[in-house]
């Protein structure tokens, strides 16, 4: 078993180092065993990233993973191939790596695990790259968790929103994405509604719900849909859809940004909107 693990790690690294010159995407190897398991985890990770990670996010990856992502339709221009085990992913928003290779990179550049697939040596990890480093990330995460809990508790007092017991517990536990919280608060400025469920927690990562389904807006549903669609990043959801006949599903892309609830401008530092690269949405008007 240990031997198999070593083989998989070797496969990752050799693939990563040797495969960078190849332009052809590699299909996951069929069959069973560690190689197939690794390929399966890569394929699942690639599918999840394609569906859930922001379409503007740069993804740092080793060659096999980059190939798997391209097979899923991720444009080559969004991929940052890592040419060595210690290559820096700075410049990317997301890092995809194996658990074995993640140690160094994670501790230096990407401490935030946002999803994982598979187990043991074949586990594939999707991590958010944090340019500020580990200690800055930890401080920002602590503040964000506290702010999410406080904001969630205030939403629970909002007379225009009804929550289920489970949803209320998730709000209090800081398990709801900050963009969702702000969107719910803004929707409640116009409508009364019921939150039926939070969803889209990523697999194999700390709970953080990026999707919500609401009901009860009824005849104003088209207007509510238009209102959510009219937002600019970072408050523009990745997907908005009518759910059932009276529901509205709102889903934000991964990774969830930190600091949106308390974005007080620090000395000499551009605010979170600028830091997130979303400062100037190129083709979206303020008033629509």
């Amino acid at each position: 078993m240990a031997l198999a693990g070593v083989a998989v790690i070797a496969l990752w690294l050799v693939g990563g180092l040797a495969g960078t010159s190849s332009q052809a995407p590699r299909a996951p190897s069929p069959g069973t065993g560690p190689a197939a398991s690794a390929a399966g985890a890569q394929a699942r990770a690639a599918a999840w990233i394609t569906a859930q990670v922001s379409g503007n996010a740069m993804v740092a990856c080793y060659a096999p993973m980059c190939a798997a992502l391209q097979e899923q339709g991720v444009a080559a221009g969004r991929l940052m191939p890592l040419r060595s085990a210690a290559a820096s992913p700075l410049g990317a928003s997301v890092l995809v790596t194996s658990r074995s290779a993640a140690g160094q990179l994670a501790s230096r550049y990407a401490p935030a695990l946002i999803a994982s697939f598979g187990s043991g040596g074949t586990r594939v990890e999707v991590r958010a790259v944090e340019p500020g480093g580990v200690s800055a990330y930890r401080a920002a995460l602590r503040a964000d968790i506290a702010a999410r809990g406080a904001a969630g508790s205030q939403l629970l007092r909002n007379p225009r929103i009804r929550f289920t017991g489970a949803d209320a517990a998730q709000l209090r536990a800081s398990e709801v994405d900050t963009r969702l919280l702000a969107t719910l608060a803004t929707l409640a400025s116009q409508y009364s509604f019921q939150v039926t469920a939070f969803g889209d927690a990523a697999p194999g990562a700390p709970l953080l719900f990026r999707e919500v389904t609401i009901t009860g807006i009824n005849r104003s549903l088209p207007a509510a849909l238009a209102m959510v669609r009219a937002q600019n990043p970072p408050y523009l959801p990745a997907r908005i859809a009518i759910a059932g006949q009276t529901g509205l599903s709102i889903e934000f892309a991964a990774p969830s940004p930190l600091g949106l609830l308390s974005p007080v401008l620090d000395a000499g530092t551009p605010g979170p909107a600028a830091a997130a690269g979303g400062a100037f949405p190129p083709r979206s008007a303020l008033f629509r």
Partner: protein, 283 residues
């Protein structure tokens, strides 16, 4: 007498309707939203610092009570509102075009937390489209005998600007959207200078002892423009803070007092009751 009775009830009803409507307007106006400043209230003000963006209406919604937003109407470039007292908690900032209905689609631009006793400036800056709101925490006091000042870089024309106040360099190559910390300077009148690639701007600015200021790097048609806002004087935050660079301020009206309207409603209710009683009596 019968004529009087006939007209009394409708008159009373009209009085109630007018009074009720006025109270509703007062209750939903920004001033009324800004409850009388309790010890632990926070303070917010709004600054429009985007030369490309049109005048707008800004709504600040509390997470827990969206029916009582702070609303500032017709905020245009260069305007800085008065501070408004708000209950501590989480808020969202939404913008609508000037004059748009309060039920029209808002553009959510920020969410922020107000802490009791703290003051914040919500600065709308950047290009349009692409306007964003930055939240700055404002200092309310200065060391005795000193003035304190910070710089906010909001120029779209120059992305790196060096700012000095007399002999003091307040910021070197400050990037767009960034702000410095507050720095203590000697009180008096000194020239604020902006230096950027091929451009300069200067303006004398008075900073009194025990006062707090924000210098804003702005654009005008000919290049850079110095904006100076007084945040606080002698431990008191400024009730209104129009930028002193030839811009008009958005000075909100004083808090609406609902007492007269309540008296009017009560009077109307009494008149109605009296009218109804008389009408029910056989003639």
């Amino acid at each position: 007498m019968r004529l009087l009775r006939r007209h009394l009830a409708p008159l009373a009803m009209i009085t109630i309707l007018v009074g009720s409507t006025a109270v509703l307007v007062a209750a939903t106006s920004p001033a009324a939203s800004a409850a009388p400043a309790a010890v632990r209230d926070g303070w917010i003000r709004i600054a429009h610092l985007s030369p490309e963006a049109p005048a707008m209406d800004m709504y600040v919604y509390p997470f827990g009570n969206p029916g009582r937003p702070v609303v500032l109407k017709d905020v245009s470039y260069g305007a800085v509102s008065a501070y408004v007292a708000v209950v501590p908690g989480q808020y969202t900032v939404a913008m609508r075009g000037f004059g748009a209905s309060a039920t029209s689609k808002p553009a959510l631009t920020a969410s922020f937390m107000v802490t009791g006793g703290a003051a914040y400036t919500l600065a709308a800056l950047g290009p349009d489209p692409g306007l964003r709101t930055e939240v700055l925490k404002d200092q309310m006091t200065a060391p005795a005998g000193k003035a304190v000042v910070r710089v906010l870089q909001a120029s779209l024309k120059q992305h790196q600007v060096t700012v000095s106040y007399g002999p003091d360099v307040l910021a070197r190559q400050l990037s767009f959207g960034a702000a410095t910390s507050y720095q203590a300077v000697s009180p008096g009148v000194q020239t604020v200078r902006f230096t950027a690639s091929g451009q300069h701007a200067a303006m004398p600015v008075t900073m009194a002892a025990d006062s707090v200021h924000t210098i804003v790097v702005l654009d005008d048609s000919s290049g850079l423009k110095v904006g100076a806002v007084t945040d606080a004087v002698g431990s008191r935050i400024m009730p209104a803070g129009a930028i002193s660079a030839g811009f008009g301020g958005t000075a909100p009206r004083p808090p609406a007092n609902p007492a007269p309207w309540l008296v009017m409603i009560a009077a109307g209710a009494l008149l109605t009751a009296a009218g109804l009683i008389r009408l029910r009596r056989p003639a």
